[in-house]
Amino acid sequence: MGHETLPMMTYVIQVLTGTIGSIGFSILFNIKGYKIAVGAVGGAVSWIVYLISFYRTDDVVTSMLISTMVVAALAETCARICKTPVVILLVPMLIPLIPGRDLYYTMQHLVFGRMDRAAFYLQLVLKEAGAIAFGIILLTFVTQFLQKTVHYFENKKKIIKHKIN
């Protein structure tokens, strides 16, 4: 795609509107109380991380993967602090990353009969959705692994203490 030199203001507006989108979807998904605020902050973070990593890597799919992983880590951490399921915090955070535009262009080119461009956008949509899903799964497994490791060593300590006593 190449670097597009857009004024800084565009990025600020994107982060702001992305956050508004996150808050709106939180209301549609019936999320209550302070969790809306957590989701909104996460929504802003997800787009900021995406922009930075797009600037560095110049690749949409990689940037989505990185952004999803950062946000998923944030959601896992916040979920442990707030004692709520991870999905509640994670879904609003990912809203700005949803490939709605590319899905629309796929459809548009398909209807106009421009098959080569439709195919291009279709593979882009699948790769983007795949990157988001893969990022979430990866982070889930990493957290589970960490949790189990910590648990294992805590148990070991207890056993050793028991033996000493």
């Binding site: 399921p85 990912l94 899905l103 899903a133």
Partner: protein, 248 residues
């Protein structure tokens, strides 16, 4: 008898989780944990998007199987949160079945946000994403107006229990027409951005991501079911918006 009621309660909790948009993994995990809390020797849960099958071997050797057919889905995070809280409490205290039944009844009575607030949320989401994808402020306003029309259409469709796919198609067609009229009379100018703002409200992006998650995580049947549903829905929306391409 007590055990039978308990298994029914577990299925109730699973049903609420599944219809509110939780992952299959979470449901199986929650039910297994509750079973362990009541000293069941064995808990087997099989969940797909359309049904839950639950078999338990109780402490005194009884084997109980119950199934539940799941219909309809409405994402509702508050319910997931409340069921999660309830299951934590059950695992800690092992309360009587009566108590769990009461709690479940209360969770089922949870209401969403008032209709006017949801309307505003529709306006904001569509407007915000129209600007997000490169429209100007007037495009945002046009997208917001179209989104409010979309919400009204969706409510009417749900009230008369219209087929979900057909409803999506019709709603996108109406939104397309509204956008066309709005741009003709001078509110907003780039049709693409205005429509994309509304597409964000309709597309099953969350469902697509969840389905891929289920597939990668090993729940292939549920994942494929969800994915098929998402693709069909996207196709229906695309067919609806094709109205924009008519030479009017």
């Amino acid at each position: 008898m007590e055990n039978h009621k308990l298994v029914a309660c577990m299925l109730d909790m699973g049903e609420i989780l599944l219809t509110s948009g939780a992952e299959v993994n979470r449901i199986e995990d929650t039910l297994a944990r509750i079973g362990a809390a009541y000293h069941f020797q064995r808990v087997d849960v099989f969940t797909i998007t359309a049904s839950i099958v639950l078999t338990v071997h109780t402490a005194d050797g009884e084997i109980i199987t119950q199934t539940r057919r799941i219909k309809g889905a409405q994402v509702d995070m508050e319910r997931i949160d409340k069921v999660n809280y309830l299951s934590r409490k059950i695992c800690e205290k092992e309360p009587a079945v009566k108590y769990i039944e009461n709690e479940i009844r209360e969770i089922k009575n949870i209401t969403g946000y008032p209709e006017w607030l949801i309307g505003i949320a529709y306006f904001c989401v569509a407007g915000a994403f129209a600007v997000f994808f490169g429209g100007d402020i007037m495009d945002g306003a046009a997208a917001g107006i179209a989104a409010v029309v979309l919400r009204v259409m969706l409510r009417i469709g749900q009230r008369i229990r219209m087929n979900a796919l057909f409803l999506n198609m019709m709603c996108s067609a109406v939104v397309g027409i509204v956008v066309m009229v709005l741009t003709r009379i001078g509110i907003g100018h780039s049709v693409d951005e205005i429509v994309i703002g509304n597409v964000m409200l309709l597309i099953p992006g969350v469902a697509l991501t969840t389905s891929l998650r289920d597939i990668i995580g090993g729940d292939i049947i549920s994942g494929l079911l969800e994915m098929t549903e998402a693709i069909l829905k996207a196709a229906a929306i695309a067919m609806g918006f094709a109205v924009l391409l008519l030479p009017l």
